[in-house]
Amino acid sequence: MVNSIDLDLLIVGSGLAGLRAAIQAAKTSSIIKIGVISKLQVMRSHSVSAEGGTAAVLYPEEGDSLESHAYDTVKGSDFLGDQDVIERLVREMPSEVYQLEHWGMPWSRREDGRIGQRAFGGYSFNRATFAQDKVGFYEMQTLYDTCQKFDNIEFYNEWFVTSIIHDGQKFCGITAIEMSSGNFYTIKGKALIIATGGAGRVYSFSTYALASTPDGLDMAYRAGMALKDMEFVQFHPTGILPSGILITEGARGEGGYLLNKNNERFMKKYAPSKLELASRDVVSRAMMTEINEGRGYKHETGVDCLKLDLTHLGKEVLTKKLPAIREISLKFSGIDPINEPIDVRPVCHYMMGGIHTNIDGATEIQGIWAAGEAACNSVHGANRLGANSTAECLVWGKITGDLAAKYILDGKSQPPFPLHLVATEEKRIYDGIFRGSGSANPYEVRQQLTEIMNSKAYVFRNETDLVDGLKQVRELHKKTWRHVTDKAKEYNTNFTNVMELDSMFRVAEVILLGAIKRKESRGAHARTDYPDRDDKNFMHHTLVYYDTKEPVLKTHPVTITKYQPVERKY
């Protein structure tokens, strides 16, 4: 017998997107039952790690404009972003910042008490709204705390969702494991918002939380929804060694320099006007070129790196505006940035791609929306600008929360629940994984998989590497790692770790397939064998659908409103 729970709105994932959606839905209606389901404790989602800022136009009187924010984003996206979606983002953002402020967000302030903003890569105005360098943390806290106001939001802490159930057209429910007890549940609902975040842990050197695996993407993918533009993976220029923890772009926004072995600010060669504050893909490529041409440092661990110099900013700026950077650097690398430059190297940081949605965040299945990093409404195109992601989470959290609540209130008829799918899923995870057998250590397999991704689909890519990477991933997939040695029910993270690995394989494959197919260099996807952007053949989005045999690739047009593609220079 499967345990079953009945709710109206299910929100899977409790990052910024999930929580913003929950609040909006609860505001829209106080009678619908909302469940926020997360494999972590709700307040511990990866969003707490976001550091630098949230982009919004707050000071038009000082020269900023929605136009400018939109154009910076379009240009940042290397013209692959859907322009109607981008316009919506920039239009909705200012009020989101004020709304968060009204809910208690401790934004850093100007002397006159108004909200502070700082410079960020790729922007032509200082519009990264900040709260010290813990923006995501404070936003999560504000949303989590504001959720406590509403009695119709229920949190399901540490429930691992395994699949999405629909009848081919309409959403019906999900299956999930309550981790503390190990019980398997069906949760029925009328609408679903997928907000499971990014999947950067498919790379071994990554800024992401250890829980950022692609289970949510994979769930949607297996349920027949397309994954879009997955080949675009953002590598942030400054991951600190050896941990890969992020040093925010805010550090360069406040005036930090990148230096090579010859103590040279090499960015003046690559982006003479914006220097260190060019968009992330540009800076990361410049750094890898420096390293590949032998002008990097060797870190103690044997890894190549460059230096990020903040010493000239002085103690005051570092302790007041970048306290977390100093803390991270002191704690995890033993370096005080007040006195010494930090060792950094490009690091996997963001997935531009995700579940294919339209401008409203709606997926191809009725009653299912996706928001946040898990979704791809194409706001970031081929490269996201810093500070635009938390913004996206807020805006589409709000939009989808509102639409889903209204959809439920409309009371559309529900299809009969396809119980057989629950049985199939139960068989897949319990017979296929929990009771599976094999000899390979799944954790070693996971390490190998992520290292393949790091070496074959990193900042610079080429056909040979990518094809080889795909081959290696598929061979690795065939090994017998689908077994769980821990047989207990309670809090069996061995079991969930293996399920995460299972999803990593499918999504890694999608990333590689998309990257092989896209024979051009655009945004974060830089092919050494096709160094130029090719608008004639590749001005489109990549869609990948699941199939039991071989994934199916399709394309999807890009929406252009005002801004015609031109060459992108910083």
Binding site: R44, K149, N157, L210, D304
Partner: protein, 253 residues
């Protein structure tokens, strides 16, 4: 062609790793209620954290270790546990700074154990909810054209430090009242009650004071200071609680 070097996993690095003995307290409610220790040998380097050591065990020696973690950078609050007898974040404690060759990790006190090092947070979560941790005022929902409530940097300073709280529960684990009082609100919740009360945008002071002025509320804090002693984020709940009590005693307005 661009070649990309990959950061190596810890074993292959240049510095010679030494090893420590990691003792993990185990308990699994479905098998037996007995609490026992398992011992493992773990290679360490100067920056190896306790969390990394535990994950090394989980990945290579015993997959069944139950431990909660996520961000590995002291922002999410998952990995609180007792390390060599004191509550601390595993991802924020380096083995090298402990300076012992045997490191003992146990689940946090004053929380029910789910399994091994993972504990149940229901009480912390519901106590946090009880103290109305949000801005209480009528116009907290914006309308078109709304701008921000003005908040000077010095107004911000009055509560900012208390909003550093990552809800890790270490303070509740260290507090002597929490050790025996199952109904105590606890330093985490009380500090948040002050955080919102001290915010110049908030108007919920009276409501919140009523909530904490209970037989298991703020008065069960005796300023033992242990909460602040272990807080990894500099929140200083002990200060927050005394300042909040200042309102009740009429020392503050």
């Amino acid at each position: 062609m661009a070649t990309v070097s990959v950061p190596k996993s810890s074993e292959e690095t240049t510095t010679q790793p030494s090893t420590i003995t990691l003792r993990i307290k185990r308990s699994n409610p479905s098998e037996s209620t007995e609490k026992t220790f398992s011992e493992f040998q773990v290679p360490v380097q100067k920056w190896t954290t306790v969390l990394e050591a535990i994950l090394y065990v989980k990945q290579n020696l015993d997959h069944s270790v139950g431990v909660r973690y996520s961000c590995r950078q002291a922002s999410c609050g998952s990995c609180g546990m007792k390390i060599n007898g004191k509550p601390a974040l595993a991802c924020y404690t380096k083995l090298s700074e402990l300076g012992t060759s045997i490191v003992t990790v146990e689940p946090m006190n004053n929380f029910p154990i789910i399994r091994d090092l993972a504990v149940n947070f229901e009480q912390l979560i519901s106590n946090h909810k009880k103290i109305k941790p949000f801005i209480v005022r009528e116009d907290s929902e914006i309308t078109p054209g709304t701008k921000e409530f003005i908040q000077k940097p010095e107004d911000l300073e009055k509560f900012l430090q208390f909003s550093y709280c990552i809800k890790c529960g270490l303070c509740n684990s260290a507090c002597p009242t929490m050790a025996t009082d199952t109904s105590f609100l606890g330093p985490q919740a009380l500090a948040q009650a002050f955080r919102y009360t001290a915010d110049n945008r908030d108007q919920g002071k009276d409501e919140r004071l009523k909530i904490v002025d209970d037989s298991h509320g703020i008065w069960r804090c005796h300023f033992a200071g242990s909460c602040s002693h272990v807080c990894p984020k500099g929140v200083d709940p002990a200060m927050a609680i005394q300042l909040l009590r200042g309102y009740l005693l009429g020392f503050r307005k």
